[in-house]
């Protein structure tokens, strides 16, 4: 490079190289069916498939076996109240535990309610009565549904019995309504219906954005590596440009291409399936910009490892599962060890899930998710440097 070349010439040369890379990358993308499948097919179809899987939202009418050893009006009343719950369906009455266990082993029931013989007597005598419930633990969602239904049931029954007793004892006239001197009210924030799709989809769509883009970029990278090997170290389809112009040109191509996908995924999917969508579109679209950039750079950095077109399938697909867990959607991040917390900090989608969920489901503003927003810009900067180094090294492979 000439020493007397002024800075403006350099900038203009860099920009024209950048422009060439940008156009060339768009051309490569739209002419590769495999890339289009990742860049268009996957983001279009996956969110719908996932939402359909979880769309029934809640578990209802879980079959339960009842062992009523009390056989009194009180115990029958208890069972009747239980069957009134939308979560519980009384499937059968059993004589003993072995019979109930058999139903459970056959997966006919997922819970067993045991009312001991002294239940009716205790209730009548004003002593504490006991009921036991055994829940199958193969799915925590079922256990969770049982616990929530049974706790409500318990409170309801207790209030009725207590008010009867206080009335009977004559203390009631002295103290007024004493069954509930303090009211309590539970408010659910975010996923107000507590549905499974409403909870899981806003997080998953962010992962879909990142993973589909990474897979597509690595498919392009692996294909380019193959062309290089066939052509004595040079990829004839690639534009000659400085590594930084190449990295930026490509990143812009991916980001621009992804913009309509992002609007579809973040705006229309939640609306279409009536999932929570309380966020301001300006906030979450601005928020997601550094995620797209960071991912576009990260993919180019990963291309260092992509030796052929299909490498991404082996090296990347399984990471979706890992990133899902690192995002804290299933297991919260505050309970993670430093190792996994920091592993997660390096993944754009982890911050993306955190920020988007808060904006989308808790109507947080961009300012309120500023930690995640800043982290995404830092990741974008770090991966940009990594991508430039990787691209530079890949380009140098030809001289070997």
């Amino acid at each position: 490079m000439c020493l007397d070349m002024n800075i403006f010439t350099k900038i203009s040369q860099w920009s024209s190289a950048f422009g060439r890379v940008f156009r060339n990358e768009l051309r490569l993308m739209v002419h590769d069916v495999g890339v289009l499948l990742f860049f268009v097919g996957l983001p279009l179809a996956y969110p719908i498939v996932y939402t359909l899987i979880y769309n029934p939202e809640v578990v209802r009418k879980l079959p339960v076996a009842v062992i009523d050893d009390s056989r009194t009006a009180a115990s029958r009343d208890f069972v009747q109240r239980a069957s009134a719950s939308p979560s519980i369906d009384i499937y059968a009455y059993c004589n003993d535990i072995p019979e109930a266990k058999r139903l459970m082993a056959e997966k006919k029931v997922f819970g067993v309610m045991e009312i001991p013989s002294d239940y009716g007597r205790n209730i009548a005598a004003g002593e504490q009565a006991h009921v036991s419930f055994y829940s199958d633990m193969s799915l925590l969602l079922r256990y969770r549904t049982f616990v929530s239904a049974l706790t409500d049931l318990q409170i309801e029954v207790i209030q009725d019995i207590t008010s009867e007793k206080i009335a009977a004892s004559g203390l009631g006239s002295l103290a007024g309504d004493m069954t509930a001197p303090i009211d309590s009210k539970s408010n659910i924030l975010g996923d107000t219906e507590q549905g499974f799709a409403s909870f899981v989809i806003p997080g998953i769509v962010i992962l879909i954005l990142q993973q589909s883009m990474l897979l597509g970029i690595c498919l392009l990278g692996g294909t380019s590596a193959e062309r290089r090997r066939r052509n004595g170290g040079i990829d004839p389809q690639q534009t000659v440009a400085p590594a930084s112009a190449t990295v930026w040109g490509r990143a812009l191509a991916y980001t621009v291409f992804y913009f309509p996908m992002t609007v579809y995924i973040l705006r229309f999917i939640p609306e279409m399936f009536n999932l929570p969508h309380y966020g301001n579109p300006v906030d979450y679209l601005l928020f997601i910009l550094p995620l797209l950039l960071a991912t576009a750079f990260m993919g180019q950095a990963l291309n260092y490892f992509m030796k052929e077109r299909e490498s991404g399938f082996i090296l990347l697909v399984f990471t979706s599962v890992m990133f899902l867990f690192l995002s804290g959607l299933t297991w919260p991040r505050y309970a993670m060890s430093d190792l996994w917390l920091w592993a997660g900090n390096c993944i754009p989608a982890v911050w993306g899930v955190e920020g988007f969920i808060r904006i989308n489901s808790n109507s947080a503003s961009l300012a309120e998710v500023s930690t995640a927003f800043s982290a995404l810009w830092i990741l974008a900067a770090v991966y940009m440097v990594a991508a430039i180094v990787a691209t530079w090294k890949i380009d140098r492979r030809k001289s070997r």
């Binding site: 925590l140 001197p181 309590s184």
Partner: protein, 388 residues
């Protein structure tokens, strides 16, 4: 014994497996790293100490005692004190807390004068697990506070303690989580997710190792080594992989039941048999996909799609019977579904082999179905066409 080319094929495959780091990575590194990942990440069992806040607008002895009861809970960590509802909601939006508990102004006064004040609590369900735990903790304290006031009032009215306890708590309801009384997320999630990742890698590596021969144009040579017999060719290619996967799979079972002491109420032997059958069944699904689309990119795309979606539709977190039928049907094609059901029956619940008989049959039938299209795979291998 006639030379079928089987031994040559095995030797050829072992050379191939050793020639590329990607095989070691996909067959050993990923399954083991992911097993370690899940076991270590979820090792606390329950994510207790959910960050939460209390908004005390009353500042009375009674409100302080409510705050104290909240702090005493193990499930939540009362990490913040907020001065108003808005401040607390802000902290939720910032992700600092997962819920908060509001004690209204004049709480004590109203409670003692019978004016029924309301304790309100907010749980952020955008994160299910911490939201649920916060909810549970808040509810416990709200109910206990109410009971406490009744107790005090009755006591002041001259009731005996015995009278009071049966009045306030006339019914106890104990809920037992069978075979996982700790509600451990580790026991619940580790086996299914580790094995589903393992099965995903088995399918991917099987498809990769077969279709790469077609891509590189080496498939005729592969069939040649087996004297043109696709059965021998496949057996010699897949058997070395089966051995590696089987060893990995057994090691993973040791991680579960040996190292981590996960419940094993039935027979370890049948768990190992199920694991080996799941390995072979996954290879079978891989072979089937290769036969349908003998092209590396398409076959790997299809396998990834199926493998990743099987995490969801095999019902580890959301039950299959609650799904739409046209999606639930896919779960029957996934080997991991049967392994999971056997794990539930044999290891977690220990209900006996009888109840898992169909799952074992399914794991045996899956690879047999996979063999039905081998003719198609053979033709593709003889005339390899690579479509990028």
């Amino acid at each position: 014994m006639a030379n079928t080319g089987f031994k040559d094929g095995v030797r050829r495959e072992i050379r191939r497996l050793g020639s590329r780091k990607m095989y070691i990575f996909g067959m050993l590194v990923v399954p083991l790293v992911m097993a370690f990942f899940f076991l270590d990440l979820l090792s606390p069992g329950l994510p207790n100490h959910v960050p939460t806040a209390v908004v005390d607008l009353d500042h009375s002895p009674m409100s302080r005692s409510v705050t104290q009861s909240l702090s005493a809970l193990q499930v939540i960590d009362l990490s913040e004190r907020c001065e108003s509802y808005d401040e607390a909601l802000d902290r939720v939006r910032q992700g600092k807390i997962f819920g908060f508990f509001v004690i209204p102004a004049d709480f004590e006064k109203n409670a003692l004068s019978g004016n029924e004040p309301t304790l309100e609590y907010y749980s952020n369900m955008t994160y299910f697990v911490p939201g649920t735990l916060a909810f549970k903790g808040f509810k416990t304290v709200a109910v206990a506070t109410s009971g406490g006031v009744v107790q005090q009032t009755l006591l002041s009215l001259g009731a005996t303690p015995g009278q009071i306890s049966s009045m306030v708590q006339p019914l106890s309801l104990d809920i037992y989580g069978l075979h996982n009384p700790w509600m451990s997320y580790s026991i619940y999630l580790c086996p299914s997710f580790t094995m589903a990742t393992f099965v995903l890698m088995i399918m991917l590596m099987t498809v990769f190792s077969i279709t790469i021969e077609i891509k590189d144009g080496t498939s005729p040579q592969w069939l040649d080594a087996a004297k043109g017999n696709i059965w021998v060719a496949l057996a010699s290619k897949l058997l070395p992989q089966t051995v590696i996967f089987a060893a990995t799979g057994i090691f993973i079972q040791w991680l579960f039941f040996g190292l981590s002491h996960f419940p094993l109420n039935g027979s370890l032997g049948w768990m190992l048999v199920a694991t080996l059958l799941a390995v072979v069944a996954s290879q079978g699904v891989g072979v089937f996909i290769c036969s349908v689309v003998p092209n590396p990119r398409l076959a790997l795309s299809l396998t990834s799609l199926f493998g990743i979606l099987s995490f969801s539709f095999t019902g580890f977190s959301f039950p299959v019977e609650s799904m739409y039928g046209f999606l639930a049907i896919f779960s029957y094609l996934a080997p991991i579904r049967y392994w999971f059901l056997i794990y539930i029956n044999e290891a977690l619940n220990g209900v006996g082999l009888y109840y898992s008989r169909y799952y074992f049959v399914a794991l045996i039938v899956l690879p047999l179905v996979a063999c039905t299209l081998l003719g198609r795979l053979r033709r593709a291998c003889l005339k390899p066409v690579y479509v990028p």
